[in-house]
C-alpha cells in the first residue's frame, strides 16, 4: 500500500488534471445560465494551477529509478514538457474566456475536452512505453479532432475536423504499424528494452532494412503530429478552420508534445551510447537517420516558408509558419545528440511564447472584428498601439532577430547543426529565415505602414486583461532574448537526465 501511495504521488499532476476536467464538466451543469464561461473557465484555471504546483514540486526532486506503474516516466524532461503544456492550456483557457462572443451551452465540454487533450500530451511526453505513448497520442488526437470541429455549423470548422480525423487516423495507423514491427523485432514495447535489443541486432549485422521500415513508419506518425513535410498537408486547413484558441493549442502544446515523444523515441531507441560505444552499424544507422531528418527539416522549412509567402489569411499564414518552425526544430533533432536535443527544448520554450502571442493577437483581432485577413489589419498600429507593438515583438521573434528569444533559439539550433557537420542545413535555414521576414513583415506593414485613415475597422480596444496577457508573452519573448542563461541551464539539465 505504501508503494502504491508513493507511485500514486508521482502521478499527482495527472490525477489532478483528470479530477479538474471532471469538475469542469460538473460545474457546467450547476452554474446558472450565462455565467458558464467565467465559472467553468475559472475552475479549469484552478485545476491547471494546481497541476502546475504539483509539477513544480516534482521538479528538482530525484526522479524514481523505475517507471511509475511500469510505464510512466517522471523526469525533468517530462516535467518541462508538462509545464509547457499546462502553460499553453492556461493561455488557451484564458483566451477562450476573454473571447467576446458567447454561446449558451457547451462550455463544460469545451474545457473538459481541452483538459483531456492536455492529459494526452502529459502521457505522450512522459513514457518509454510504446503502448502508453500511443494511447497518449490518441487521447490528444481525438480530443483535438473534436476541438477542431467545435464551431458547430461553421463549414470550415467542420471541414477542418474532418480532414484532421482522416489524416490523423491514417498517420496513427501507420505509426501503430511501426510500433508492432518494433515489437516483433524485439519482443518488447518498452523503449528502454527495445534500445539494447536493437543494439544487439545491429551487432549481429543483419542489415538495416527491417529496422528502417519500422523506424520510417514510426517517424511518419511523429511527423504528422509535429506537421513536418511530407505529412503537413492537414495543417493549413485545420489551423485556419479550427476556432483560434484551439489552433493555438494545436500549434503550441500538441506540437510540443509530439516533439517530446519524438525525442524520447529517438533517444532511447536509436542513439548509440557514445560512452559505452555501440556497434559500428548502429553508429552508422544513427547518422543516416540524422541525415534523413536533416533532409526532412530542410524540406519542411522551405515548403512552409514558400507556401506562407502567398497567404492572405493571417491564421493560414501562421499555420504555414508553424510548419516552417517545425523544420527549424527538426534541425536540432537531426543532430541525434544531446546538445541538439537540448537546443530543441530551448526552441520549443521560445516558440511557446512567440506563437501563443501571435495567435493571441489573431484571436483578439478576429473576435473584435470578425476578420482574419492580413490586409484588413491596416492601420491597427495607430488604432490600438499596444496590441500592435506586442505583435511586432512576436513577429521579430518568429523571424529570429535579436534581441528576442527567437534569435537565441535559432542560435542554438544553428550551433548544434553546424557542429554536427550540417553546415548546408544551417545555410538553408538562414536563407529561410530571410524569406520568412517577407511574409511576417507583411503583417507589420499592414499594421503600421498604412496610415490610420485606411483602417477598415473602428477603434478596437483590447480589454485590460487581454492586453496584460499579450504583454506577459511579449515580455517573455524579449526577456529570454537577453537573459536566457537560466532557461539554457534548465533545458540542459532536463536533457541531462533523459536516459
Amino acid at each position: 500500500m505504501n508503494l502504491l501511495r508513493e507511485e500514486l504521488s508521482w502521478i499527482t499532476p495527472e490525477l489532478c488534471l483528470t479530477l479538474f476536467a471532471c469538475v469542469a464538466l460538473l460545474v457546467d451543469l450547476f452554474v446558472q445560465k450565462g455565467r458558464e464561461s467565467v465559472m467553468v473557465g475559472f475552475f479549469s484555471l484552478m485545476g491547471l494551477l494546481a497541476t502546475a504546483f504539483f509539477l513544480y514540486r516534482q521538479y528538482g526532486v530525484t526522479p524514481p529509478a523505475q517507471p511509475v506503474f511500469g510505464c510512466m516516466v517522471v523526469d525533468p524532461f517530462s516535467t518541462l514538457f508538462k509545464l509547457f503544456a499546462v502553460g499553453a492550456l492556461a493561455f488557451v483557457v484564458l483566451f477562450t474566456m476573454l473571447s467576446r462572443q458567447t454561446r449558451p451551452d457547451g462550455y463544460g465540454e469545451f474545457y473538459f475536452i481541452l483538459l483531456c487533450a492536455g492529459l494526452g500530451a502529459f502521457f505522450l511526453a512522459s513514457t518509454y512505453n510504446l503502448l502508453l505513448m500511443y494511447l497518449g497520442l490518441e487521447l490528444l488526437s481525438i480530443a483535438s479532432y473534436i476541438l477542431a470541429g467545435y464551431a458547430k455549423g461553421n463549414r470550415r470548422s467542420g471541414e477542418a475536423a474532418m480532414k484532421y480525423v482522416i489524416f490523423g487516423a491514417v498517420a496513427s495507423g501507420v505509426m501503430l504499424y511501426g510500433f508492432t514491427l518494433l515489437y516483433g523485432m524485439t519482443g518488447s514495447i518498452d523503449l528502454t528494452v527495445i534500445g539494447p535489443k536493437l543494439r544487439d541486432q545491429f551487432a549481429l549485422d543483419h542489415g538495416t532494412i527491417p529496422i528502417s521500415v519500422a523506424t520510417g513508419l514510426c517517424l511518419a506518425g511523429f511527423a504528422y503530429k509535429i506537421s513536418a513535410a511530407p505529412f503537413h498537408f492537414w495543417t493549413p486547413d485545420v489551423y485556419e478552420g479550427a476556432p483560434t484558441p484551439v489552433t493555438t493549442f494545436l500549434a503550441v502544446a500538441s506540437k510540443g508534445a509530439g516533439f517530446a515523444a519524438l525525442l524520447r523515441f529517438l533517444q532511447a531507441g536509436f542513439i548509440p551510447d557514445r560512452t559505452l560505444g555501440g556497434p559500428e552499424a548502429m553508429m552508422g544507422y544513427s547518422d543516416k537517420l540524422g541525415t534523413l531528418v536533416a533532409v526532412l527539416a530542410a524540406l519542411t522549412m522551405t515548403l512552409g516558408n514558400l507556401a506562407a509567402l502567398g497567404q492572405t489569411n493571417l491564421k493560414r499564414m501562421l499555420a504555414y509558419s508553424s510548419i516552417a518552425h517545425a523544420g527549424y526544430v527538426l534541425m536540432g533533432v537531426a543532430t541525434m545528440n544531446r546538445e541538439g536535443f537540448s537546443s530543441v527544448l530551448f526552441y520549443l520554450v521560445v516558440y511557446y511564447f512567440m506563437n501563443l502571442g501571435a495567435f493571441g493577437v489573431v484571436m483578439y483581432y478576429a473576435n473584435t472584428t470578425g476578420d482574419e485577413q492580413i490586409d484588413d489589419l491596416k492601420g491597427l498600429g495607430w488604432r490600438s498601439p499596444l496590441v500592435a507593438i506586442t505583435m511586432v515583438a512576436f513577429l521579430v521573434a518568429l523571424v529570429g532577430l535579436p534581441p528576442t528569444a527567437g534569435f537565441i533559439g535559432k542560435w542554438f539550433l544553428f550551433t548544434a547543426a553546424v557542429k554536427k557537420g550540417f553546415l548546408w542545413l544551417a545555410v538553408v535555414a538562414g536563407i529561410n529565415s530571410a524569406i520568412s521576414l517577407f511574409y511576417y513583415f507583411r503583417v507589420a506593414r499592414a499594421m503600421w505602414l498604412r496610415p490610420e485613415e485606411e483602417a477598415k475597422y473602428a477603434t478596437v480596444h483590447a480589454s485590460p486583461a487581454f492586453a496584460a496577457l499579450l504583454l506577459v508573452l511579449a515580455v517573455g519573448t524579449v526577456w529570454f532574448g537577453v537573459g536566457f542563461d537560466s532557461l539554457l541551464r534548465y533545458c540542459d539539465y532536463s536533457q541531462n537526465l533523459l536516459r
Partner: protein
C-alpha cells in the same frame, strides 16, 4: 562612475530616453522633443569628452580604451560577455554617431505624425549603432547589428516617401540576407574557437586570446569542424571570409549589392537619409576593418585584388550613374556609392596610407554626405519635389543656402582644403603603390564626381530664376544649426587633418599588424 562606464552610458542613455518617451503622453509634443534632445545630447557630450581626452588618456597608444567586460550569458562553456571598448578605429565613428543623432533630432523637428514612435525608434537606432561600434564580443556585435534593422524599417516605412513600403522591405531583406550569412559564420567561428571575444583579454591572470589573435596566429583553420578545413573544395577560411564580406558589403554597399541603397535613400525622410548615409554605411566598412578582413587574413590576401576591383567599380560606376540622375536625392545617394568605393580600395591596398585614407574617408563621408542630404532636405521642404531640372537661379533667392551648398559640394568632390580631399588623396596615394592601374581608373571617378556635383549645382542655383520659386524663403536658423557642425568639421579636418590622423595612426598600425606580411 561615468568615466568608468563611459561607453555603457553612451550606448544606453538613448535607451533610457526611448523608455521615457514611450511613457510620455503622446499629446505632449514639446516634452517628447525635449526628451529626445536630452537623450542624444548627453551621449554627444560624453563622446566629445572621449575625443578631447583621447590623447591625454592613452598617450596615443593603440590599445583599446574604456574597456568594460562582464559576463552576460554564462551556461557551461557558453560564455557571452558584455565586452566593450574603443580604439582609434571606432572612437571617431562613435563620436560621429552621437553628433549625427543629435542633429537628426533637430532635423526631425517638423515630424508631426506619430512623433512619439518616431523619436523612440530614432533613439533605439542610436543604441544599435553605438552598440555595434563599441562591441568587442562578436555575439554582442551581432545583437546590436540586428537591433538596428527594426527601427530603420519602421522609420523608412512609416515616415518615408511614396514608395516607402518597397524601399523599407528591400532594405530589411538585403541586410538580413547578409547578416544571416554572418550568423552562420559566427556559429562556425564559435564552434572552432569556443570564444566570442573579438579582442584578447586577461581573466584571472590568464591571457584569453580573442578571435583576431587566434586568426593572426593561424589557429582558425576549421580543421576541427570539417575534415581538413576544406568544405566543398573551398577552404574554410574562404567561406568565413566571404560570408562576412557579403554581410558587410551589403551594408557598405559594394557594387553588386548596392541596389537597396538608392531606394532606401530616396524614400527615407531627410533625417533618416542623413543617418543612413552618415553612419549606417560606415558600419559595413567598420565591420570589414574590425572583423571581416582580419578574421581570415590569408583569404583576404588571396582575394584583395578582387576587392580592389570591386572598390574601383564602386567609385566609377557610382559616379557614372550619379551623372545620369535628375532626382537630387538619388544623385546624392549614388555619390555615396561612389565615395564608399574608396574605403574598399584603400583597405585592399594594405598600405599604411591606403588604410588610413580608407578609415578617414568613412569619417569624412559621414560629415559630407550628411550635409548633402540635409541640403536636399532643405529644398525638398520648400518646393516639395527634388527634380533638378525644375529649379534654377536659386542662388539669388537663397544666398545663404547657396553658400552652404557650395561648401558641401566642394567637400564632397574633394576640393583641397576640405576634408574629402585629404582622405581621397591618401587612399589614392596609398593604393597606387599596390594597384597603379586601378588607381588611375579610380581617378576618373574623382573627375566624374566633380562633374555631376557641379552640374547639379548649376541646374539648381545658376541660370535664370524659376519664377515658381521666386518667393522661397532662405534657409532657416534651425537648418543652419543642423548643417553648421558638418560644415565646421569639413573645414577643420581639411585644414588640420592631423587632429584626426593622430587618433587613427596607431589604430591603423595595429590593424596592419593583424596581417602576416
Amino acid at each position: 562612475m561615468i568615466a568608468n562606464h563611459l561607453l555603457t552610458w553612451i550606448t544606453f542613455i538613448p535607451l533610457l530616453g526611448m523608455l521615457a518617451i514611450l511613457l510620455a503622453p503622446a499629446t505632449q509634443k514639446a516634452l517628447i522633443r525635449g526628451l529626445a534632445v536630452v537623450a542624444t545630447a548627453i551621449p554627444l557630450g560624453l563622446s566629445l569628452y572621449l575625443w578631447l581626452t583621447w590623447g591625454a588618456v592613452n598617450g596615443g597608444s593603440a590599445q583599446l580604451q574604456y574597456v568594460e567586460r562582464v559576463p552576460w550569458i554564462q551556461a557551461g562553456n557558453f560564455l557571452v560577455q558584455y565586452f566593450v571598448g574603443v580604439d582609434g578605429l571606432s572612437m571617431p565613428l562613435v563620436a560621429l554617431t552621437c553628433l549625427l543623432m543629435f542633429i537628426g533630432v533637430f532635423a526631425s523637428w517638423n515630424i508631426e505624425r506619430g512623433m512619439k514612435g518616431y523619436f523612440a525608434l530614432l533613439l533605439l537606432l542610436e543604441v544599435g549603432i553605438n552598440g555595434t561600434f563599441v562591441s568587442l564580443d562578436i555575439f554582442l556585435f551581432y545583437v546590436f547589428w540586428e537591433v538596428m534593422l527594426l527601427p530603420m524599417y519602421f522609420l523608412i516605412g512609416i515616415w518615408g516617401g511614396p514608395r516607402k513600403e518597397y524601399a523599407a522591405i528591400k532594405f530589411f531583406l538585403y541586410t538580413l540576407a547578409g547578416s544571416v550569412l554572418m550568423l552562420v559564420a559566427i556559429v562556425a567561428l564559435y564552434l572552432i574557437t569556443g570564444t566570442f571575444a573579438i579582442a584578447s583579454y586577461t581573466e584571472g591572470g590568464q591571457n584569453m586570446p580573442g578571435l583576431l589573435e587566434l586568426a593572426r596566429t593561424k589557429q582558425i583553420t576549421g580543421a576541427n569542424l570539417v575534415a581538413g578545413g576544406v568544405l566543398m573544395g573551398v577552404s574554410f577560411q574562404d567561406w568565413m571570409f566571404w560570408f562576412f564580406f557579403i554581410a558587410f558589403a551589403i551594408k557598405v554597399p559594394i557594387f553588386p549589392f548596392h541596389t537597396w541603397l538608392p531606394d532606401a535613400h530616396v524614400e527615407a525622410p531627410t533625417p533618416i537619409s542623413v543617418i543612413l548615409a552618415g553612419i549606417l554605411l560606415k558600419l559595413g566598412g567598420y565591420g570589414m576593418f574590425r572583423i571581416g578582413f582580419p578574421i581570415a587574413p590569408e583569404s583576404f590576401e588571396k582575394f584583395r585584388t578582387l576587392l580592389a576591383v570591386l572598390g574601383t567599380i564602386n567609385i566609377v560606376y557610382g559616379a557614372y550613374v550619379a551623372m545620369g540622375q535628375t532626382d537630387f536625392k538619388k544623385l546624392v545617394a549614388y555619390s555615396s556609392v561612389s565615395h564608399m568605393g574608396y574605403v574598399l580600395l584603400g583597405a585592399a591596398a594594405m598600405t599604411d596610407w591606403g588604410v588610413k585614407g580608407a578609415v578617414l574617408q568613412m569619417f569624412n563621408h559621414g560629415t559630407s554626405s550628411a550635409m548633402l542630404f540635409l541640403i536636399v532636405g532643405v529644398i525638398y521642404d520648400r518646393a516639395h519635389h527634388r527634380e533638378l531640372n525644375g529649379f534654377g537661379g536659386l542662388v539669388t533667392q537663397m544666398p545663404y543656402y547657396g553658400g552652404l551648398t557650395t561648401l558641401g559640394f566642394f567637400a564632397a568632390l574633394g576640393l583641397p582644403g576640405l576634408a574629402g580631399f585629404i582622405s581621397e588623396a591618401l587612399t589614392l596615394l596609398g593604393s597606387f603603390k599596390t594597384y597603379p592601374t586601378l588607381t588611375v581608373i579610380s581617378c576618373l571617378g574623382v573627375v566624374m564626381t566633380a562633374a555631376f556635383l557641379l552640374f547639379a549645382f548649376q541646374r539648381v542655383f545658376q541660370g535664370p530664376l524659376n519664377p515658381k520659386y521666386a518667393k522661397l524663403p532662405d534657409i532657416s536658423g534651425r537648418e543652419v544649426f543642423c548643417q553648421a557642425p558638418f560644415a565646421f568639421l569639413c573645414v577643420l579636418f581639411g585644414v588640420l587633418p592631423t587632429l584626426i590622423l593622430d587618433i587613427l595612426n596607431p589604430a591603423v598600425k595595429q590593424f596592419l599588424l593583424l596581417f602576416p606580411a
